[in-house]
Symmetry: C2
Amino acid sequence: MECSDYNLTRHVERENLNLNPLQRAGMLTPEARRALYEFGDGYSVCDYCEGRLDQVNKPSINGFLDDLAKFIDADIVRTTHGARESKYIVINKICEPGDTIVVDGNAHYTSHLAAERARVNIIEVPDSGDSKHEITMDKYRETLENAIDDVGEIKLALLTHVDGDYGNVTDAKKFGKICKDLGVVSLLNSAYGMGRMPIKTNKWDLDFVVGSGHKSMAASGPIGVLAIKDEHAEDMLKRSPRHEKKEVELLGCTSRGTPIATLMASLPKVVERVNKWDEEVKLSRDFVDKLTEIDGIEQVGVRPTNHDLVRFDTPVLHEIGKNHSRKGFYLYEELKNRNIVGIKRGQTEWFKCSTYGMSKNQRDYIADSFKEIVEKYK
Amino acid sequence: MECSDYNLTRHVERENLNLNPLQRAGMLTPEARRALYEFGDGYSVCDYCEGRLDQVNKPSINGFLDDLAKFIDADIVRTTHGARESKYIVINKICEPGDTIVVDGNAHYTSHLAAERARVNIIEVPDSGDSKHEITMDKYRETLENAIDDVGEIKLALLTHVDGDYGNVTDAKKFGKICKDLGVVSLLNSAYGMGRMPIKTNKWDLDFVVGSGHKSMAASGPIGVLAIKDEHAEDMLKRSPRHEKKEVELLGCTSRGTPIATLMASLPKVVERVNKWDEEVKLSRDFVDKLTEIDGIEQVGVRPTNHDLVRFDTPVLHEIGKNHSRKGFYLYEELKNRNIVGIKRGQTEWFKCSTYGMSKNQRDYIADSFKEIVEKYK
């Protein structure tokens, strides 16, 4: 048979300033690029495996997992195939079909899917209902208490640490305390947090924290992190009665190739950048300030932002498209001409973007480019 | 914090003749190495996603999945995180906790773990009980019929297409017919087959076939294939009521980075090599013949072999170790001196190996090296 051409190039996204929030903090470090070369072949981390991925010592996966646990202040960590897979592992193991869990109203779709797959019902914590779309811990506590009253037992509560729509950062520490007070197991989805900002699993009294290597930890996808409090380890990491080295919920081994090799290679740099999170937030706020100087561009979500992922309402850009010969496509094209990509073709009414990791000059250049485009067509 | 050194190099395995059967057919093609470079960054295949991974058209994941389906004669295919994950998806969806499935006695440990995780019991089809360790279809039918009599309903039967201990190739076509006759859903684990040898999902009347990209399809791990017969598609690929584009059992999207990019890049070469499977088997048999010319080395499993993965009993090598100053380590060291790796340090009583994809000269060189080593110490 003849295979078609799959168009396996990506120079546009590699060579331009990419604003896609999904992709900014998953870009590889030079160290990870080297690991990609070394560990590109299939089962490449398994040369010296004695039956347990987490105990492989060449490359030092065991040493890496120890460092990773320390980095996020966790008792035990495992890698999985992604934050969503980590969430499914927890929900599926902690709950029975028919159980109900509590989830914040800004949860990622994969939190819903993980619950649906485990056949578990969801009660939602509503957001503030205004343009901030904030999830407050008062509302979380109230919803969780009501859920316990109504349903009886709530086995698990999930909080989205940083949501993917507005980049709102929730109060994970208060969440941990609320869950502990109410005797509910807590799960923090930190796919947009871990690898960008500091995570304190134990200090925040959390039972489980999940992260995403490809979203926020400079790793090749797909790879996730699952942090587990000691008291859940026996249950969550139970071994197979038949294959005594193998952890059942992980199907033996999980991430076993370039994803883990690149995550390992990037960790030192990721530790470094997390230490500079405050600087990153400041640069992000400056960018927002500059962009919202334009009449008809407003930030949506909590202000000032506490994250690099930011959402904007952009009526001025939408108006321009109505009279432009290229309709809504003009924005994508004008940006691309200026080497800026990552906002979908045709989208003008609103967009979310991230300038994570860019220099101040690059961010200024992007804000100025928007100003230029608005000026040009005003 | 200070990270330790994870020793992220792999030149020994990359630069020598590697006999590890887990790794031979997962080595990247030059095309896949290029894709690794292009798609190394996290979420790299998601630039033009409209919500469904399988429908992304730049790179052409949709075109690739069509080609892959054609290649293995399947109605529908999806990629997963590995053969084990594919098996879990099928078992977990087809069965309820407490159900019983039938599995061949040479099944990979991950088949057991997938069943354990889905809380499903296993009835095993015994092998031939001699040094061939053969799984015959007569015995499979008998066991399955007895299981139906004893348990009532058997919802699923799993056959290992090529087992990882002996490289025995089972009769997948007869298995498909038996299951169809008895009204049992069939699942073929072809982790050591798909990508090496021809797979005819529909012609063999199979409901599900799983494969492994990193084990047998020249892809970076972890990535698996799941082939689905049309009649199961609605159930298996059911969409979320809340997120209508997202398939629940796949948690929305599965393989989303270098693993799928490398699998796509390698497919044309994989199609080519599968067409030459007969040649590969001939070269493997020649290698076995040459190696078993040595007194005290015997092939275990079905003879002549029908696969590149072969297991040997090697009492002569074990005897040498008893008197060698380096004990059992001599073999690893003698081989490594000859640029041959992939047999575990200290292992001398038996080993399994693969010469998949090597030239005749390379295979002869390896067999001659074993001869030399035996001669040296006899």
